[in-house]
């Protein structure tokens, strides 16, 4: 006899909400805090992710805070060290810079500084990604965190991963930076992002976790490995179809976890394809892609038939105009042309 797990069509915003609902149902120490996340009659955070959860769990567990990012993260650190599992939200990922002392000096270090005697099991959710809001409401901030020992950094690209990884992150005993791309939320109604690319997929309704520290091979191929995260996974997959028309079969790896990083799977893919292209919306210089490039060079240089290349956001602040944003954010066309250049004679 086989059983089929029940699924429901969920956007990423709905999948994240489902994860938080299950986490709060199964663990009374889980609570949410952030700006505008639980206001009755409000909009459930900047991107509707927490909509309705205060009705279900009360304002004691879905806490609307003052506009005090430092205190949001600081309170999460203190709550985590006192036995709770807080899920803190920055309304926009860019605002985390107001709280960087609490992230870098406190959350990341307290387990180490205590010599392992306390844990800081918090999740910090950061909506990221360019979405025509300009330089302070759309940055991809991964590398600020990947450079800080003690933080796990994850960044799902699908509703299925979003739910399973958020459940795993909440139950992890470490501080987890949880990046969510705004164009992947698939919000509905007036809060929908105009350039959304992902509106909903079938997601199991039950409780499941995706182990942090894993990557996902989204497309198998033999000629070039394309490593990407979040929105760039979807652009890489579109690029792979166009490349296929040119006779190039790309293997697309979704690095849904940057710390820990499963470099082994990337290395094995490169051993097969002999070419590596990294696609990220983070800035080029010192981005996580630079680390993947260095690790691959260290581990698999002799398998490579071409230089490792990166398609990244340029080293400029994020501009606002749609025409400029198209220049800034890696496009399918740039991915295709850069991948093709790896095969130039």
């Amino acid at each position: 006899m086989t059983t089929t797990a029940a699924t429901s069509r969920m956007s990423m915003a709905e999948a994240l909400r489902d994860a938080m609902r299950i986490a709060m149902q199964t663990d009374p120490t889980v609570f949410l805090l952030g700006e505008d996340i639980g206001v009755t009659g409000g909009f459930g955070g900047g991107f509707t992710v927490t909509l309705g959860l205060s009705d279900e769990f009360g304002h004691e567990r879905v806490i609307d805070t003052p506009i005090s990012e430092g205190a949001i993260v600081g309170a999460a650190v203190g709550a985590a060290m006192a036995g709770a599992r807080p899920v803190a939200e920055m309304q926009y990922g860019d605002f985390v810079f107001c709280a960087m002392d609490q992230v870098v000096n406190q959350a990341a270090k307290m387990h180490y500084m205590s010599n392992g005697q306390v844990c800081v099991p918090l999740v910090l959710r950061l909506p990221v990604g360019a979405s025509q809001r300009g330089a302070q409401h759309g940055q991809c901030t991964e590398s600020f965190f990947t450079h800080t020992p003690g933080l796990k950094v994850v960044c799902p690209a699908t509703p299925y991963d979003a739910k399973g990884m958020l459940l795993a992150a909440i139950r992890d005993d470490n501080p987890v930076i949880f990046l969510e791309h705004k164009l992947l939320y698939g919000g509905k109604g007036s809060r929908k992002e105009s350039a959304s690319v992902l509106f909903g997929t079938d997601v199991p309704t039950d409780d499941y976790e995706i182990p942090l520290g894993t990557v996902a091979v989204r497309r198998e191929g033999t000629d070039v490995t394309i490593v990407a995260n979040m929105l760039m996974v979807h652009r890489a997959l579109s690029a792979a179809e166009l490349l296929s028309e040119q006779g190039i079969e790309a293997e697309v790896i979704d690095v849904r976890s940057l710390v820990p990083l499963d470099i082994k799977t990337i290395e094995q893919s490169v051993q097969k394809t002999s070419r590596l292209l990294i696609v990220e919306e983070d800035h080029l210089t010192g981005g996580w892609g630079a680390e993947v490039s260095a690790l691959t060079a260290e581990r698999a240089l002799h398998y490579l038939d071409a230089p490792i290349l990166r398609v990244a956001a340029p080293d400029t602040p994020l501009p606002c105009a749609a025409s400029l944003e198209r220049v800034f954010v890696p496009s399918v066309e740039r991915i295709v042309s850069t991948a093709s250049s790896l095969f130039a004679p």
């Binding site: 600081g74 985590a80 006192a82 387990h111 010599n115």
Partner: protein, 323 residues
Amino acid sequence: MTIQETISTEWRLAAFRQMSLIRRYEEHLYLLFLQGLVPGTLHQCQGQEAVAVGICSTLRRDDLIYSTHRPVGHLIAKGASLKAITAEIWGKATGCVGGKGGQMHLADFSVGAMVSNAIVGANIPIATGSAMAFKLQGLDRVAVSFFGDGASNIGAFHEGLNLAAVQNAPVIFVCENNLYAASTRISSTTRITDIADRAQAYGMPGHSIDGMDVEAVYRSALEAVERARQGRGPTLLEYKTYRYRGHSRGDPCGYRGNDEHQSWIDRDPIERLRTRLVADLGVAVDRLATIEQECQREIEAAVEFALASPEPTAASCFEHVFA
């Protein structure tokens, strides 16, 4: 019965012992420092003992304290292992956090002393968060954040106090106003005289109290702790106090006058308590001297333990990055 009447001779003797232990410990370290025998940095609290002891004497073992870069008094008052904090100052494997912390990062989780924090003001929202977690879990524990006058001007103070007030969190904010943020006198950074006045802006009680009188500290703390424990929210307590030594090692205090220094030494909290015990309560001078000798022996044993302890292993550098 007023709270004042509950202070017993036994309580005063215990406070005398703890304050003497802190004072003598810090002075012992200072002498070793002058001989070049103390590694790393050193931020000492001579003169401020009454605040640490008065506050911690109102706390339960399961209440949490969050201290600062000047942590020794708070840790000793909360009951931390003297041997473990001494070994930590010397960077030994037997240190309270295995040599990863040093003088500014002392802890004893068995008595609720969390890792002391060397980012000014950072523990204010952290203590608030612990208090919020206690409230969420239906516990009657409280959290205490210690900080100095300097911390009252960093953003974390504003964000933390406001969040605590609006959340009615069971936390007590203890400002040790020793008049100097490192070398900068408070009058050149702050237009008000009493930091406690700021409490009103957050809608919480605030009291400015003589931090050189351990009984006054105790009474004020008792009220704030009971208030928090009963779910009536946070309090800002400001204690006027003075650090007799410099901000950190190698600070000769050229920015302070001798008259000012002497005026605070004249109000020394330990000598005031000694006078009270001997002159008013008839405790024998010898009994207090015996307590002080016992403290000295405990201190020397702790230093001996630290010096004899092994260095951390190289492998421990890589341990406990992740849980």
